[in-house]
Symmetry: C3
Subunit: 138 residues, 3 copies
Amino acid sequence: MKTFRKELVFNVPTRRAFINITPEVEQCLSESGIQEGLVLVNAMHITASVFINDDESGLHYDYDQWLEKLAPHAPVSQYRHNVGEDNADAHMKRQIMGREVVVAVTGGRLDFGTWEQIFYGEFDGRRPKRVLIKIIGE
Amino acid sequence: MKTFRKELVFNVPTRRAFINITPEVEQCLSESGIQEGLVLVNAMHITASVFINDDESGLHYDYDQWLEKLAPHAPVSQYRHNVGEDNADAHMKRQIMGREVVVAVTGGRLDFGTWEQIFYGEFDGRRPKRVLIKIIGE
Amino acid sequence: MKTFRKELVFNVPTRRAFINITPEVEQCLSESGIQEGLVLVNAMHITASVFINDDESGLHYDYDQWLEKLAPHAPVSQYRHNVGEDNADAHMKRQIMGREVVVAVTGGRLDFGTWEQIFYGEFDGRRPKRVLIKIIGE
């Protein structure tokens, strides 16, 4: 069994953003030399997500509006977590979008449907935050 | 390490449906001959889910109503994604229900609790769509 | 390839609770002797979650309030699943928080960011319920 590990770092200038990280994951898979196995990609922070969906700016706008409706940022005083913090909503948005994805590796490639792309979802940015890529297989 | 890969195809006649795919996953596991490891089952489309819950028709009705409340289909004009499309809500419903499940394989069986069953969740059907089963182990 | 399997049992006296199970998972990893691989931790019941977030009591209170807003327990008659049951809301809360987590194992340790902790999320307690830990690697 072979394994591969790499961290990516993102320093998003805004509070929230969605970043397509598929090329970085593909690059890691290529470096690993693994042909068959599984890739785990996870946020290492608890106010961020890694998820798979469409690389379409209209949808990303819709996601942002929708998450803000389901877990509003303001008023920050509505959350007990917000004592010296203002990011309780980010902990909720991340649960809806998910912490991690597991992707099959087949023939040395991410085994994806036509429109699947991997995103880093930032809900409390403006500081460096990490994503972990771990690959196991042969 | 052994690996196994298979795609399932579903052509749901309605926009939304939940289909129990546990027998198909068990059949794949049996074909693979893998005794110990992990099974990944994921939707290959970004308006569909694979999730684990109860095979109970009342609950499935409740899920459908609940998802429609959290991410309504209509009016389709409320979503920027819906330019020449009408499925933005399906991209949201899928995030709540999840893209994938990872299940332990123990003694050649899906290592499940009493009521765990695997479902394909369709949120934008009426065309053929794929699910990936990838098994790794020994 | 090595594999390890263990079940944890929780008998929560209340309907809902969040329990930090990171020490138990670390103990399993240590027992397994696995240095590089993946850990799967999943609820074996469909009204419970395993998720990764912050060990902060204010946030847990916020999560409980938020989940109750998105999927209210009462009136129980609003759900078709609640025929001789009253836990339809628990099946929904569990979908938002998720069934499982997959965590990288690196150098014999859970490969975690600073604040990542693993929780058992109970949404229909007052009876013994199980969590599965499955580790694969070398």
